[in-house]
Symmetry: C2
């Protein structure tokens, strides 16, 4: 299996602290040794660092955990391969352009019969069930909305319905973002936390690192972090239930069930 | 204007030496301060590092120039903005998927009336003339070949013909790769060099750095480097003429004019 990490924020925020925790699970505190990746959005642009090496050993992952890249939406993943060989083409997150926006996605789980999933305009490059599911979702979206819909929130609602089909095929925990919205979809395991004023001190579970968010933030900052397993040991994370989904926009949970 | 750097190799090769030279031109020996990017292919996978900061000052660029990422095809760019604000969405290289392959592109030049270029399936995310020209090329390719052509070389020949249209609109020096082939198209300035046994010592023009390629290579390695301006001061680079193009495959120039 794999682990997911996402961030949605109302101001450009770095993910060094959370990524530091996740990185340990890629070969040290966790078995996810088969690659890692992280996509950072800045406005409509996106930059994705990825590497088929274990994140714990990767020099690039070290840079990402130390060097503050400010972003309002992040999708990250560490991989334990089940379908598809270990290689860059099978390393999450995956991105495609639709309607003049980059869509970025990462998946935790395993799907049966994924070869039967129809894809149209979007073709997988690698051989994972994950990328095929992503191409399926975007192809369905493109078929349903040949031109950009007025409401992107509606588009995410459509994606969520199509994810219900994938859920029937196995384990499908997913993060998907267009740089503004971030959709978290859970079939087995996914947690999230929204941090806002008054901020406090957080402590990572996987490595002896603390952060005092009062020093890193302004009173108006709203930052949500989503992860397969909670990354901190002294905060209360929301645990998502099987079949539950949550849409985030600029740091805030906006549906279906607000905090 | 901007500067381009590309590499095509028959074995996974790092680009640290050449990138070290290019990086200096992004703020120190050259005026290209408005961002930089580099895409590395490994088999069909691609990873693109990009940053709207000057490469000379970028921590990520420092990593890329020091840390050997092995690749058989590379497309890199340093930017001096003319059309489109400085920002990640306008930072080259740009990538899109077509026929289950990632296509990556970078442009040096400026195009008049680029808004008039038709794009179909591929939509620009940013606001540069460069990205629009890329979306035009891929949209034309997709229209002409609704399914993957048997010969990708033929596809590159088609792209070259469409590039002749862009050439009428201004300055259009370009690198475009699908991870196996790399097309270099010149309207004003582009140079290339193929290194093969017997290898020698090369010296960068922009910074006091030498490399002894005999220590870094095996006798069968063939590596071509393409750059706006020669990166070394003690080697003979091929100078391309206006309107000339050259296709590379696994390190070798394969047309129209071989070495």
């Amino acid at each position: 299996m794999c682990e997911l990490l996402g961030m949605s924020a109302n101001v450009p925020t770095d993910i060094c602290f959370s990524f530091k925790g996740l990185r340990e699970r890629g070969g040290r505190t966790g078995p996810h040794r088969d690659g890692w990746g992280v996509a950072f959005y800045q406005n409509k642009g996106v930059c994705t660092f990825k590497d088929p090496m274990p994140s714990h050993e990767s020099e690039v992952a070290r840079l990402v955990s130390d060097y503050p890249i400010k972003s309002t939406a992040v999708v990250a993943h560490i991989r334990q391969a089940n379908r598809g060989r270990v290689g860059l083409e099978n390393t999450h997150p995956f991105s495609r352009e639709l309607w003049g926006r980059y869509w970025t996605y990462a998946h935790n789980g395993q799907l049966k019969d994924h070869q039967s999933l129809p894809t149209a305009r979007f073709t997988p490059v690698g051989t994972t069930d994950s990328e095929r599911a992503f191409c399926f979702l975007l192809s369905e979206l493109d078929k349903h909305y040949p031109t950009k819909p007025k409401s992107r929130r509606q588009a995410f609602s459509f994606i969520r319905k199509k994810a219900d089909i994938l859920r029937q095929m196995g384990v499908f925990n997913m993060l998907l973002s267009d740089g503004e919205y971030l959709l978290a979809y859970c079939t087995t395991k996914l947690h999230w936390i929204t941090r806002r004023a008054p901020f406090g001190i957080a402590r990572l579970s996987d490595i002896d690192v603390d952060i005092d968010f009062t020093r890193e933030t302004t009173p108006n900052d709203v930052v949500t972090v989503i992860a397969t397993e909670p990354l901190t040991c002294n905060e209360q994370w929301h645990k998502m239930s099987p079949g539950q989904w949550q849409l985030f926009y600029r740091g805030e949970a906006i549906g279906p069930n607000k905090e």
